[in-house]
Symmetry: C2
């Protein structure tokens, strides 16, 4: 079943069928009608592979994430897919699962499938990824960590805004010993959050002893371990800010195990504002970094580079704001026990 069958059935040439399908305006309406009828009757679907082969454009974007089972990512995947469909793009999704091998494999697959661009939304390994992708003159979009190169876009997350709001919120509740559960050590996006936290604390004249910053690895397990460590401190923090929501969930979970009640005995604030945040017990106050907005920006960054005739020499930048979302995981500080 191909374009020829339709042509035969509609008694036109294959070129006319092709034009009709592609809605070229010069086709005689009467012929077009015959063609659509034939398409309908025979249940014909154009072969995208063949189209790609001749046009050179696959209308596929790659989306590389760290791990779908991390609740941070599905919101992005969902939104990215949504927009992709609108623009008649397909998406090739892949998780690196924090594995170098998997990641290189992913890159190879994307290139072989002729993707028109790749969005890289991962925790770490972006440099290695770039290494493999940079010479392909492929549009790329990163979160924060892309180099200033043609065809490379960056979405800059404005951590400072939301984090400042969060610190001010905690300070106004009377908290002074505020801990920060960071991401994996050395991760740029994580370091940016720590820095923003330190700045915001300094603005409020609050101290941040070294012991008050611990790594949570951006995972539930990491949050568990981080709070275990914090709880063992001679002077336990009365509030904890986390580098992302799932480590905050881990913190709350560990607090629960230790008989420490959130928010009565401990205030917790997450980051990302994943959908789940509103459903945990207690509902988690978090700093929103809109996943759908992030996906939207990433998609449009790619699309812009696909359509741009001559690339920007230093790439393109986009900005995404963050803001505090109040729920029930924070409460006024009261001297405990």
């Amino acid at each position: 079943m191909d374009i020829r069958d339709i042509a035969k059935h509609a008694k036109v040439s294959i070129a006319t069928v092709s034009r009709t399908i592609n809605r070229v305006p010069t086709v005689d309406p009467a012929l077009a009608k015959r063609v659509w009828k034939a398409i309908d009757e025979l249940g014909y679907y154009p072969n995208t592979q063949a189209r790609t082969l001749v046009s050179g454009k696959s209308r596929i974007f790659g989306l590389i994430i760290s791990d779908v089972t991390n609740p941070f990512f599905p919101g992005i995947v969902q939104a990215f897919e949504e927009i992709a469909i609108q623009y008649d793009y397909e998406i090739l999704l892949t998780s690196t699962v924090y594995d170098q091998q998997r990641m290189e494999n992913a890159v190879r697959r994307m290139i072989e499938r002729q993707v028109d661009g790749v969005a890289i939304v991962t925790f770490g390994m972006e440099e290695a990824l770039l290494e493999h992708l940079r010479f392909r003159k492929l549009p790329l979009v990163f979160i924060d960590v892309g180099p200033p190169l043609p065809l490379v876009s960056n979405i800059r997350i404005q951590y400072q805004i939301g984090i400042r709001q969060a610190v001010q919120h905690l300070a106004s509740l009377g908290h002074r010993r505020i801990a920060f559960v960071s991401g994996p050590p050395g991760l740029k996006s994580g370091d940016a959050r720590i820095l923003a936290f330190q700045n915001a604390m300094a603005e409020k004249n609050l101290e941040v002893p070294g012991a008050m910053i611990v790594s949570g690895h951006h995972s539930i397990e990491g949050g568990l371990a981080a709070f275990e460590q914090l709880a063992a401190l001679p002077e336990r923090p009365s509030a904890v800010m986390c580098s992302n929501d799932i480590s905050a969930i881990g913190v709350m979970r560990k607090a629960y195990e230790l008989g420490i009640q959130v928010p009565r005995d401990l205030s917790v604030i997450g980051f990302d504002d994943i959908r789940l945040a509103q459903f945990v017990i207690p509902p988690l106050t978090s700093i929103r970094m809109s996943q759908s907005e992030l996906a939207r920006l990433a998609f449009h960054a790619l699309l812009a580079d696909v359509e741009r005739a001559t690339p920007q020499p230093k790439g393109t930048e986009y900005f995404l704001t963050t803001e505090l979302v109040l729920r029930n995981s924070t409460a006024p500080f009261e001297s405990q026990t």
Copy 2:
């Protein structure tokens, strides 16, 4: 950059390049070496689209799910992708988001991209999906709801096993008023769970009044509403079994709002055993339906049909067991208040 460039660079014909890449054993090792060298030096990647065009096989499987942001699905997506990579398959993921239009769209895209098979793991709409896919002589795999047709596989979930274990567990804790929060009304997989529940209750000589079965729509919000309804009953249940984990999470969340403590005042059991189940507060006892095993079965079902010379006239069946996983959301019944 194509196969001709490699041929030129290695001073062989394109046929030899093709054979080398495809590891046809009759290629002279010396030539093969030259070819690989050229491939390496030029950074060549074969064009999958072109390969697909001639071979007729895309090595892409479609995976249709309801919604990535529903925590039940990522585990399946992850595992499916994992196996796909092993077998050098690509996966085209799409969410129907419970929308008929989206779903039809998804089917069209899959066909246009020449997928070699489709795994349908959705809540509902399978009949409509089938309608569109059945005449394409495409391997299909469903959970429970596929018709007995050639090229259609089914993974039969053995609900009864785990549900019986759960009911027995609750009964042994002294619970008699056990409610069931079901899935969307009319959903086959949901109805199967209700039936299994009723059977198991009957075995223990426990009654199931109509008011004790309420719909939870397989969502957190649904669980919220379901338990609101159950809590308002003159004789409140002392235990609730849920048709899936996220509605169980909704139930626990509503109980929290109402000041009902889990598990002291209310025992809760989920279904699916999603990864999150172990991290909620309190950790959720659940009936495991292994998502990775499910994905594995689905993938192999598709693969088997792709490779099978003559299809089974009535399709193929696979079985997946379920089992109770004990955590902390259940406790002995004690007369309350």
